[in-house]
């Protein structure tokens, strides 16, 4: 890494080096350097190492043994893995669908109506809380007997709901907790995208007498698409990796109803000390995410803009 820094100072001789040595490229490397080191040390190296571990049988404390593709064979026939994948998908669908719709609504509101800094600030407030705090907060609020939400539901006559304690409602409850936390932040990203849409398009629309509704579907949404792809890719990846909320509230239960894939990984890694199999599932998750992301980019034509 030191070389790139040296290079900037010693105006060079070799011609093949020329393109690398322009002032701009040198500066660029300098700027990238800190995150590049972090990327290599904390991401690239562990990722490659993780791949190796997935071919071994390793309990963390004793010597690991090479087992070839055994872990992968086990994965394919592991019904609990597929069940947890199903749980994760259910979570992602609920989480992303509602969160994205709410985020776009909030962003449009922020753009067209709520110009106050305070209102905008309040909207992203949940995102400033730590996941663990949010999890605990909702754990108490959603508690079947002691929670304030059930006190309210009883008051208006709907009756108590078990929420996190019930296999039928747990994953939706967790999805809701994370929607609540993330929608403001997602809205902010969409909001930034809205700023890039030229105002004259809207003016033209209003001269043509288009309604607010028509403007939204005809102008805002299509022109927002590249930003939406970015937001979706980021939130879908994050959504697939949901863990902390579950660790705080349900620990994968009740009866595996919230045993999402990252929880399943953690269960093998740190409860059962089966590091080889845990990393195998991680690799599978990586491949799934790669495919999902690829499809998203393709289907939504991420590289193009309609402007």
């Amino acid at each position: 890494m030191a070389t790139s820094a040296d290079v900037v100072q010693t105006e060079s001789q070799a011609t093949w080096l020329k393109p690398w040595l322009t002032r701009e490229t040198g500066m660029a490397w300098l700027f990238i350097l800190p995150s590049l080191i972090g990327f290599i040390v904390f991401y690239a190296v562990p990722a490659v190492r993780g791949l190796f571990i997935s071919f071994t049988d390793w309990d963390l404390l004793t010597e690991s043994q090479f087992v070839g593709l055994d872990n992968y064979a086990r994965l394919v026939s592991d019904t609990a893995f597929w069940q947890s994948l199903g749980v994760t998908l259910g979570y992602v669908v609920i989480n992303i669908a509602i969160q994205t719709v709410l985020a776009i609504l909030i962003a449009v509101l922020m753009d067209r109506l709520a110009k106050s800094i305070v209102v905008r600030g309040v909207l992203i407030l949940p995102y400033l809380l730590s996941n663990v705090v949010v999890g605990l907060l909702w754990l108490w609020m959603l508690d079947p007997t002691l929670g304030i939400i059930n006190a309210f539901l009883t008051y208006i006559g709907i009756g108590r709901q078990p929420f996190l304690g019930s296999p039928d409602q747990a994953i939706a409850s967790i999805a809701w907790i994370n929607i609540w936390r993330h929608m403001g932040y997602t809205a902010l990203l969409v909001f930034a995208g809205l700023q890039t849409i030229p105002k004259d398009v809207y003016e033209a629309a209003s001269i043509d007498g288009a309604s607010e509704w028509r403007t939204f579907w005809g102008i805002t949404l299509p022109l927002l698409r590249p930003v939406l792809v970015f937001v979706l890719v980021i939130t879908v990846i994050g959504s697939f990796q949901v863990f902390d909320t579950i660790a705080v509230t349900t620990q994968g239960g009740p009866a595996n109803a919230t045993r999402v894939i990252v929880w399943y990984i953690a269960e093998f890694a740190f409860d059962r000390f089966d590091m080889g199999y845990a990393t195998t599932i991680s690799v599978a998750l990586f491949l799934i995410l790669a495919v999902v992301t690829f499809i998203q980019m393709r289907v939504m034509r991420a590289g193009e803009s309609d402007l």
């Binding site: 990722a47 190492r49 404390l61 990796q241 990393t279």
Partner: protein, 462 residues
Amino acid sequence: MKTKQSFVVLISLLAMLSLILVACGGGDAAPSNDSGDSAAASDSSGEAVELTYALWDSAQQPAYEACATEFQKDHPNISIKIEQSGWDDYWSTIQTGMVAGNAPDVFTDHLAKYPEFAEKGQIVDIQPLVEQDDVPTDIYIGELADLWTRDGKRYGLPKDWDTIAIFYNKAMLEKAGIDPAVMNDWTWNPKDGGTFEETIAQLSIDANGNNGLSPDFDKDNVVQYGFIHGGQGNGYGQTQWSWMAVPNGFKFQDELWGDKFHYDDPKLAETLEWYHGLMEKGYAPPYPDVKSLGGAALFQAEKGAMTSEGSWNIKNYVDNSNFEVGFGKLPIGPEGRKSMFNGLADSIYIGSEHQAEAWEWVKFLSSQTCQDIVGEYAVVFPAIQSGVDKALAAHEANGLDVSAFTEQALDPEGTFLFPVADNASEITTIMAQTEEQIYLGQTDDVAGTLKAANDEVNALFQ
């Protein structure tokens, strides 16, 4: 444009892969010191040494701080740094510490955990040290010391013990006109629940004021449960169901360290069916209600009259309840009244750089001097009788009658031991899920579900 985009995508994909993997990747195999023989107790030189001592129960920390102060009078060069963290964090901290080679020098160990640490060579076999220093191992109550030995090796010296009893809300019993003396000879069986279930029914009250014995009892509208269960029991049911299942003829395993479990025993199935039945009848909260915050939160919020709990929680319940808590005996089952008898011990981490000093501290923790101090704090019952007497005196001074726990422990037929076995963490994972399915009513065939789980458990030992 296009290529740049794919580069960014590639980078972000790599980033998220490693995010997933990085948590799993860390650390090399722990240092391979092979045994504690190197720890010669005689070499405690005058050099200043700081030992780390870990425990999970914050209520016990003051007692052990007092022990550390006493210890330092004789060992001025050794200072003790106490690290406390809650049960779940505690074990992940110890385990990651072992992987990283910096686990605490001495830590409070549990019967469900130590076999794996021993098998993986992470805790010191102290038998040679015990022999070398002539440390008596027969001063402890019952078989506590034996729980920590295997094949002539010893992994800890007992520090305390616990039994289970019924915790009850005195005001609720009084209001229902129930004399706590019924607990002296109440009975339980898996068919009709005996007088135990009768009392529970009497203490269950619906919104119209009917109790569980009334034909008008509305089980969907209960305001006070007769019994608050502790949810699932991780396959041990220590506080939850072991005190019913074992007196009903269930045995976890044939002997300590047994490599065959009997979760498929119909005696267990009928016990858990009855346990689930309490929830169905409205005598106990539905499983989802205790899943989140636990039975203790419901009991302390005055949602129910009784619960089954361990002696280590006496202080917790008394301090956190705005009402008087009483302690009654377990019901008498088909084969008598029995409680699990469990004990903790202190283990020495094999990677400790100060094993000689660590041994001195463990020796002191298991001595009468320290256990008497612990007894005075009246949080747990120490493993030595004189410490128990101190604890009883302290409880009495606080106006608490805890004889339900001690009489149970002293009854020669009154206890059974914690099922010590290999593969405990996997057994726990399998059985916790199985129990949840049963309590959520997801299975009509409880016996079949338990049979399948038992096959999975026994396959671990193949």
